[in-house]
């Protein structure tokens, strides 16, 4: 008779041991899982500094509730203070008794008080946190981020969800908002250009103060800009506007791109699916629909001179104009003069963008990074002088969409 193996003889003991171990784990700490009723998840975070330079972290919490009454999530805003994000989060924990989880955090908003500090260092907790990852979107706001999160929106909508919608991929693909997540911001920060960007949120109505006009002397009327959540609350109309873009040099705010500059930046930087360009004035005012967009920033060194080429090509179609209908009816091709007008408008936006970034010494277009990555043999000789010696070429080509 074949002798039974040791394993077979011990199998009963193994099963008993397994049951004992699993029971012990279950009855001691529920396998390390957390009780839903003691849990809250942070869906959005606002970061500010107070007068004493202490970090004020405003966390918007989604608190899971028993589903019997139909409402299974409630939103609440809790503020924590501390010397760092981790310290402030601990303060949130102390105040609420919840274990705040960052794994569902999808939005980080930094307030004005953070702009003169290296934001990357201030948010180091999020960059190194394995649980939250680098997917949360990041945005700057006028005033205090805490005030923004404290706004009560009707219909139970949270500020995080409202702003997150405005910064959605779809909004980004329409060139109306410079959506950035922590990864985008960090990559810019660590690039040779040391320049990064994030959308700049302004609120009209509510308590965060209203906003109007461009930040660098330009009016921001006209089409575009990611604007939404216009909601009546006690006679007050709260609107979030994310059309501008805050640009940072080594993590410190360098300036805020106007809506047009941000639009040009998005055309060059983003994967734009379809957008609209308003060009012409008065009777010639035309709105062009632009699709199949290809934007690119490239750098060449010609005879020792760095040449930055900002190029954009797309298919364009007249979407709306004030020209008499009977002249246009039946025309399938977009008139060449309209295409040229639109090209000139986009070139003007690009020119403004470059002039502004040059004036604030912020290489958000990435010339230095391109020099390092693609023209590396010139990097050592040109890296210090590139911003001064750079020649910019604009190449905007629109074709009729038919």
């Amino acid at each position: 008779m074949k002798k039974e193996s040791l394993l077979k003889r011990l199998s009963g003991l193994f099963i008993a041991l397994l049951i004992a171990v699993l029971s012990a784990l279950f009855f001691t700490n529920d396998f390390g899982l957390v009780d839903l009723r003691k849990t809250s998840v942070i869906i959005g975070v606002g970061v500010d500094f107070d007068e004493k330079d202490e970090m004020v972290l405003t966390a918007q919490l989604a608190v899971p509730m028993p589903a019997e009454n139909g409402e299974n999530t409630q939103f609440t805003v809790v503020t924590g203070r501390g010397s760092s994000v981790a310290d402030a989060l601990n303060d949130v924990n102390v105040k609420t008794g919840f274990y705040p989880k960052l794994v569902f955090c999808k939005l980080i908003i930094v307030g004005e008080s953070c702009f003169d500090k290296d934001i990357n260092s201030q948010l180091n907790y999020f960059f190194s946190n394995e649980y939250s990852g680098l997917t949360p979107k990041i945005a700057a706001c006028k005033g205090k981020a805490g005030d923004l999160f404290s706004m009560q929106l009707p219909y139970g909508d949270s500020v995080t969800d409202s702003v997150d919608r405005l910064l959605s991929d779809e909004a980004q693909k329409s060139a109306n908002v410079s959506t950035a997540n922590l990864n985008d911001f960090g990559q810019g920060y660590y690039s040779k250009s040391k320049a990064s960007y994030m959308p700049y949120i302004e609120v009209s109505g509510g308590e965060s103060g209203d906003s109007s006009g461009g930040e660098n002397g330009q009016d921001t009327g006209g089409e575009g800009g990611s604007k939404g959540q216009s909601q009546e609350k006690g006679g007050e109309n709260i609107e979030f506007f994310c059309g501008k873009t805050a640009v940072f040099n080594s993590g410190v705010l360098a300036g805020i791109l106007s809506k047009e500059q941000a639009f040009a930046f998005n055309l060059l930087n983003g994967e734009i699916r379809r957008t609209y360009v308003a060009c012409g004035e008065g009777e010639n005012a035309t709105t062009i629909s632009v699709r199949d967009c290809k934007g690119d920033v490239s750098l060449k060194v010609e005879k020792g001179v760095p040449v930055l080429k900002l190029s954009f090509s797309a298919a364009a179609k007249v979407q709306d104009d004030k020209i008499k209908r009977d002249k246009q009816r039946g025309e399938k091709e977009t008139p060449p003069e309209v295409l040229r007008l639109c090209e000139e408008t986009i070139k003007t936006y690009m020119g403004d963008l470059y002039a502004y970034t040059e004036s604030i010494r912020c290489d958000v277009l990435g010339a230095q990074d391109l020099l390092y990555k693609k023209q590396n043999k010139y990097y050592e000789t040109l890296k210090d002088s590139i911003i001064k010696t750079l020649t910019v070429v604009y190449d905007v080509k629109l074709r009729s969409a038919g």
Binding site: F14, N183, K374
Partner: protein, 356 residues
């Protein structure tokens, strides 16, 4: 008749197990040591190890003997037993880093707080059982693991490849050659799969053309790793060193994830099963070597002993992974060089006896 592994199963082990164990923390470490040039040290290690794999596979075409029998016929049984005892020790040591890596990966991906070490201990109940099994069993597990691996890794590649900015890999060779060689050396312990093939010798029946199949399988697994290294750096750029777990982080920017949630975690779960069997292969190899070294066929008892050692080590290195990985990068290339490079090459000098 003694049951043997099939060459197909050896190939599957060299594709799946070879790749998964290099996709946990190694990419982050490679990004840390070699920056945007991280694929070059990896290519160097892969090329070197592929050559060794080919040499062992080709040696298998010249003899039916196992490595133990080759040692025995050239020297004597005592020498063979000593070498196999050292191999057993090597496999135990080689299991430590991936075992702790897997533990940390699970904690990071599936837990939102750091659970107690005791939560990980049931792993050993399975590993005691599976560790006692022979290589034939390892081969059968590989038959199951390969499709799981290929489906999961293909999905991860698809989800991540489009999210990278590949100019992050430029300029090529921005690091000096000595620095890249240092990176290759510190990662050499991750490219030590030929030690397994050496121990497999005699456990599979060689047929004409199998050397090419085995070598290409290893190369295929290695190239999957290289592709994922490149995508990982393209996705995270200079921040790649701070992103610890490639498998948990590389596909998070896939657009659908923001709508449907972390569907990539199901792929990670599947790959974790493959990682589990890849780690257990170390224990099986160690038990196999101990069994021959001590001439003791009680594999269950040997598996208990090996796992007991690993449990003790797990407690000792708990919360000390960073120094552990640094120590492994700094010193473990030496045993890896001996057991996965020198000894396989020395096998050619041993008396092969009857040729096919």
């Amino acid at each position: 008749m003694k049951e043997r592994m099939s060459v197909r199963q050896v190939c599957f082990i060299l594709i799946a197990y070879n790749a998964v164990l290099k996709l946990i923390i190694y990419p982050s470490a490679a990004a840390s040591s070699s920056g945007n040039d991280l694929i070059f040290p990896a290519l160097f290690d892969l090329a070197m190890q592929t050559a060794i794999i080919w040499s062992i596979a080709y040696l298998s075409s010249r003899t039916d003997k196992s490595f133990f029998q080759l040692l025995e016929s050239t020297f004597n049984k005592v020498v063979a037993r000593i070498v196999y005892a050292l191999f057993a020790l090597y496999f135990i040591l080689a299991a430590i880093v991936p075992m702790v890596e897997q533990q940390l990966l699970i904690h990071s991906a599936f837990y939102d707080t750091v659970p107690s070490l005791y939560v990980f201990l049931p792993f050993f109940i399975f590993s005691i059982y599976a560790g006692a099994k022979s290589f034939t069993n390892s081969g059968r597990c590989a038959d199951i693991c390969l499709p799981v691996f290929l489906i999961s890794i293909t999905a991860i590649l698809v989800m991540s490849a489009g999210q990278g900015e590949y100019s992050n890999l430029l300029p090529v060779f921005s690091h000096s050659v000595p620095s890249l060689f240092g990176g290759a050396l510190s990662a050499a312990f991750k490219y030590a799969d030929s030690a397994f093939l050496l121990i497999f010798m005699g456990s599979f029946r060689y047929k004409k053309g199998d050397a090419a199949k085995i070598t290409l399988s290893y190369l295929f697994g290695g190239l999957i790793v290289i592709a994922l290294l490149a995508i990982f750096y393209a996705v995270y750029g200079a921040m790649a060193p701070s992103r610890t777990f490639l498998l948990n982080e590389i596909s998070v920017f896939f657009p659908a994830i923001s709508y449907v949630g972390r569907i990539d975690l199901t792929l990670l779960y599947a790959l974790d099963i493959v990682i589990l069997f890849a780690i257990i292969l170390h224990i099986q190899a160690s038990v196999h070597c101990l069994s021959l070294a001590f001439g003791w066929d009680k594999r269950s008892a040997l598996s208990l002993i090996v796992n007991a050692v690993l449990i003790v080590i797990t407690f000792v290195v708990n919360n000390k992974f960073s120094p552990l990985y640094q120590a492994a990068s700094r010193w473990f290339w030496i045993p890896a060089l001996i057991f996965a490079y020198v000894l396989p090459l020395c096998a050619w000098l041993l008396k092969r006896g009857d040729k096919r």
